[in-house]
């Protein structure tokens, strides 16, 4: 009798383990450390690229929608690779694409956009690179997905087909 109860207990135990692991398989395992996630976005003020007007971060990220801040430069080779993904993302109405032009000559940057197309809803300039530092960027390109004034996701390096699909998934 005692053995039977024990056996039933063990079977139930293993079935639970099985179930939990089965569930665990379906979870995404892309791990981003909690500390860098959902951080409040830094406050900054900068010049709008095509005009000479200043704008603050509060005005930019005020709406209840997703923003993708993309740090780029015309001299950055991997930026060319990710450009196609950005153009694709710019079609999506749930997402506002904001470019942050990093340590770049304005002439070169304009030429870059004429050549490859302009995916951005909005471009800010970061001539001396200080804004990028405040965002904690490692280099160009780098992209931050922002929702409700929080960084939801951070892509270091160019957007790849994998991270592109993830972005799409999050936005949905």
């Amino acid at each position: 009798m005692k053995i039977k109860i024990f056996l039933v207990f063990i079977i139930v135990f293993f079935l639970t383990v099985f179930f939990v692991l089965y569930k665990g398989l379906q979870n995404s395992n892309i791990y981003t450390p909690d500390t860098s996630q959902k951080k409040d976005i830094p406050f900054f003020k900068t010049k709008i690229f095509y005009s000479e007007k200043m704008i603050s971060s509060e005005e930019i990220f005020k709406n209840d929608k997703f923003y993708l801040l993309n740090i780029w430069a015309s001299w950055c080779v991997p930026c060319r690779d990710e450009h196609a993904f950005l153009l694709n993302l710019s079609d999506s109405s749930d997402l506002e694409l904001i470019g942050l032009n990093y340590k770049d000559k304005s002439e070169n940057a304009k030429k870059f956009l004429r050549e490859l197309g302009d995916p951005y809803d909005f471009i800010l300039s970061d001539k001396d690179g200080t804004i990028s530092i405040e965002w904690g960027a490692y280099g160009v390109p780098e992209s931050f997905l922002i929702y409700n004034k929080k960084v939801v996701k951070k892509i270091i390096g160019p957007i790849t087909s994998k991270s592109f699909l993830e972005l799409k998934k999050v936005i949905k």
Binding site: I10, I11, F14, F18, V20, G24, L25, N27, Y31
Partner: protein, 625 residues
């Protein structure tokens, strides 16, 4: 072409399995002698798997990119050595290696077990074939290493550079010999349990397999650690990473099993322990495969995140678990020697204590590894369990464990000989004074550390003394225990005395801290086959008189385009000087990390001593037979 042969060999191998099972069942019913045809087909199956494996190796050597596995993991500019090791440096190839070792071991088992009963041999073969079929189907269905791609790509994607390393090239095969060796223990234990075959004779015969897998598992883990030490560049050798843990868990179970088997062989005790431990060793190995291959964990070992694969292994694993549970609960009749009187100060007691300690350590590691997964599923909260958890739970228990290990093998004498008692106490006092001396000069938690180091030294002295008293008698046990004490001591002293300097330096700059000055003298650039390298030159001046030049490297691999940092390590008998440098993007300085790590080499040597103990024991058995 080679791929095609490889693939069809796999199919034939699977087909042989069904023939073997059919023949075995026929043979099992008739009480005649062992059917020779079974052996023929087992060797045939081994042959097919070898051909298949060679087929994959050839595809890698010839850089045949029409093979998807080769395309994904190789490149024409890679040195030939890494082309070959690339064969098992990926999910598909490594599973083929699993299969190879599985079939090899059952073949050797059949040859080496002629003096055992026919029924037992056949049943073991049957259980092993269940596992083999499981892996065949897994390989062919979800991870075929011979997938054909068209059009044929011109160039492959390359092997991850951090895997291009000699230690890591042989790490998987050695580790697999350990993991898969436990499958033989598993099958034969299930067979012996169902046939009521567990006896002293059986224990003597299965002990060889336990020793073999234990030695390989130990060496495999050691190689992985050494690799992590110099390649990952963090200067540690064990990170309590889930993937390291899944190799440690079978090791703990196997070590416990090894001790139990010894008692079973001599006294016919602990049969339930032996059965449960045999089952858990193999299921833990499988569980490790599940955790790293399903992508449920993320680490260097996660080759591909494919839930379908994970699901397959998961179901397979639980089938095996329930099969073993069924056999254990319904067919197991306790064979334990009922007349045996447990004397509370006997060797058996000390083994039992050892068992419970090991089970405790095992559960800590198991919980630390699995809990984050459970928590995420239940609450969607992500946590990571790191070294502090393990340190807090394991270190306090290490102290009584080490004392028990020191005194355990001596329990018999304690009741008999007064002289020995005195010696034991004197050694204890010496160890205590020695550790007092060491800890006094540091600013660590005094009480805990002194006792910890005392227990380490105590085990060290006692096992050292045994070499003189017992000589060649029980040399293997002494050697392994001595190695273990050395291991613990080296880790403790290493932790206490390690020092580290992290700084940013430009070329030509100096940095000074305490007694050490680091001079960044310059960089050299070189171009080698499949990577470019930047070698930094650093002169380290110690004001106590020594001077050393260290040359850490940054390698930029061409395919895939990854930068790896190669540590430069100067090793001598007592300390390792360890240096890495990293490029900081868009800046003209390098991030420098300089570490002085005492007794590193003793950690590796002591583990070698431990496995040497196992090897000696294995050779001893050979001689006896």
């Amino acid at each position: 072409m080679a791929s095609l042969i490889g693939f069809y060999s796999l199919i034939f191998g699977l087909f042989s399995s069904s023939v073997i099972i059919f023949l075995s069942i026929l043979n099992f019913r008739n009480t005649n002698s062992f059917d020779k045809k079974i052996l023929t087909f087992t060797s045939l199956q081994l042959f097919f798997v070898i051909v298949s494996f060679l087929g994959l190796i050839f595809s890698f050597i010839n850089s045949d990119f029409s093979n998807e596995t080769v395309y994904n993991h190789s490149h024409t500019t890679k040195p030939i050595f890494y082309k070959i090791s690339g064969t098992w440096g990926n999910h598909e190839g490594s599973l083929l290696l699993w299969l190879l070792v599985l079939t090899l071991f059952i073949f050797v088992f059949l040859i080496k077990s002629k003096e055992q009963s026919k029924q037992y041999r056949i049943l073991t073969l049957l259980f092993q074939q269940v596992i083999i079929i499981g892996f065949f189907i897994f390989l062919i269905k979800t991870s075929n290493p011979f997938n054909y791609i068209f059009p044929v790509p011109k160039e492959g994607l390359g092997l991850n550079p951090i895997l291009q390393d000699p230690a890591l090239a042989i790490h998987p095969p050695i580790l697999y010999l350990g993991y898969v060796g436990s499958s033989i223990i598993f099958s034969s234990t299930l067979a012996a349990t169902s046939l009521n075959y567990i006896s002293k004779k059986w224990a003597a015969h299965i002990k060889i397999w336990v020793l073999i897998s234990w030695i390989f598992l130990t060496l495999g883990i050691l190689l992985g650690s050494i690799w992590a030490y110099y390649e990952l560049g963090w200067g540690g050798f064990w990170f309590w990473d889930p993937v390291e843990n899944v190799s440690l868990m079978p090791w703990l179970a196997l070590t416990t099993l090894l001790h139990c088997i010894l008692i079973l062989e001599k006294k016919l005790l602990f049969t339930s322990w032996v059965i449960i431990l045999s089952i858990s060793t193999f299921t833990l190995s499988m569980c490790g495969t599940f955790l790293v291959r399903s992508g449920i964990l993320n680490s260097v070992h996660t080759f591909a995140n494919d839930p379908e694969r994970g699901l397959y292994i998961l179901i397979f694993l639980f089938c095996l678990i329930f099969l073993s549970l069924f056999i254990f609960f319904f067919l197991h009749k306790s064979q334990d020697n009922k007349d045996y009187n447990f004397f509370w100060l006997s060797k058996e007691t000390s083994i039992l204590i050892n068992n419970w300690f090991m089970m405790y350590f095992l559960s800590v590691v198991l919980i630390g590894t699995m809990y984050p997964i459970f928590l995420e599923v239940i609450t969607t909260e992500k946590i990571s369990v790191g070294p502090p958890f393990y340190n807090k739970l394991i270190i306090p228990f290490l102290i009584p464990f080490l004392f028990a290990m020191a005194i355990g093998p001596k329990l018999k004498w304690i009741k008999s000989n007064l002289q020995d008692k005195m010696n034991l106490i004197i050694l204890l006092i010496i160890s205590f004074l020695l550790s007092l001396l060491i800890i006094k000069n540091t600013n660590l938690n005094f009480l805990l550390n002194t006792i910890l180091v005392t227990s380490g030294f105590y085990l060290f002295f006692i096992t050292l003394r045994d070499f003189f008293i017992k000589g060649f008698n029980k040399l293997s046990q002494n050697l392994a225990h001595f190695g273990f004490s050395l291991f613990i001591l080296s880790i403790l002293l290493n932790n206490i005395f390690s020092s580290e300097i992290i700084t940013n330096l430009k070329i030509g700059e100096k940095f000074q801290k305490d007694n050490i000055e680091i001079n960044f003298e310059g960089v050299k650039k070189k171009s080698i086959n499949n990577y470019d390298t930047i070698i930094g030159k650093f002169k380290i001046i110690d004001f106590n008189g020594s001077e050393e030049v260290l040359e850490p490297e940054l390698r930029i691999y061409n395919q895939p385009n990854i930068v790896t940092s190669e540590a430069d390590i100067k090793t001598d008998l007592f300390t390792d000087k360890f240096m890495t440098m990293n490029l900081v993007q868009n800046e003209d300085y390098f991030n420098i990390r300089y570490q002085v790590k005492p007794f590193m080499i003793w950690i590796w040597l002591s583990v070698l001593l431990i496995s040497l103990g196992g090897l000696l024991s294995l050779l001893n058995r050979r001689n006896e037979n």
